[in-house]
Symmetry: C2
Subunit: 181 residues, 2 copies
């Protein structure tokens, strides 16, 4: 049974204070970039404005019923709009879409012209945009929102989905703060 007397401590051990210091937070930021993640774009629409931001913090929660989760920064405009409209879409990016991930990687980007250079589809006039060329896309209705620390966990039921992947397309992956193929 570990640890036995004389056994080494866990490697690189850092114990966090109950009220973590700025140094604890910085160390966590670096460590958390070791998680490889697929890259997606969250989209939502309010009135005539499309909002879109690149994210990596999403997951599939359940098949029954089809349910997904995305974690959005609580103070971001897109989090407000997703909650207000109750609708959003997730487009899973291929490695060919790395320029789109860069373009939409900043949640404060101006709305005017946001999707001008980004090919997209829309299922109906008020529906969120889904990005052309995505490995898969999902349109969702907000089912639950759980505020946790600095973020909101937005749980959505899948109402429509599809795929526009080219043959041989592979996922865009983010690891150690860089996009990878």
């Amino acid at each position: 049974m570990h640890p036995r007397p004389g056994e080494p401590a866990p490697p690189g051990l850092r114990v966090l204070a109950d009220d973590p210091s700025a140094a604890d937070q910085d160390a966590y930021k670096v460590a958390s970039t070791q998680a490889a993640k697929g890259v997606a774009v969250v989209t939502t629409r309010q009135g005539r404005w499309d909002h879109a931001v690149t994210v990596t913090d999403l997951l599939s929660v359940s098949y029954d019923p089809p349910t997904m989760l995305v974690s959005l920064y609580e103070l971001s405009r897109i989090a407000d709009v997703v909650v207000e409209t109750g609708r959003f879409a997730l487009s899973l990016l291929s490695d060919a879409q790395a320029p789109i991930a860069d373009r939409l990687g900043w949640s404060g980007a101006p709305l005017v012209g946001l999707l001008d250079q980004v090919p997209f589809f829309r299922r109906e006039p008020d529906a969120p945009a889904v990005l052309a060329g995505s490995l898969a896309w999902f349109e969702l209705r907000v089912a639950e929102v759980h505020p946790v620390a600095t973020h909101r966990l937005v749980v959505g039921r899948v109402v429509a989905m599809g795929s526009d992947a080219s043959p041989g397309a592979r996922p865009l992956v983010r690891w150690r703060s860089e996009y990878r193929r």
Copy 2:
């Protein structure tokens, strides 16, 4: 503005019923495998028993305070033990750890000898095991549990962390139901 008259519908469109059919669920299962995901092992300890299972559904929620989330099948034994003990660890696997991902990939694996072939560390006698050679590992205290559909979203505060990655180690990634490097 899309859709314009005569524009194509979103590619591969499937609209799900309010009460999704088995075919809807199967289509979602396939589509959701298009999300590339890093691979981790969740561990927890109760009495003298170590529980461990390979997961891909985890994310970093916040730096302030350091907070992570893992989605566990509601009927799994490990979900019960994580909630009962309030403690768990996440070890982010490198591509060299693919055999461990396979070995621990089944939540019903027998507990006796579960970690016999898996090198690990433990911070203190009751702490969850952390896997040697992981890109990064995090020990957490359960902060919140949200049941959603067939799963429980377990939110944890990071209490300790570390890294045991070899130089040049790269993440193990799962995509389209297969492990990739």
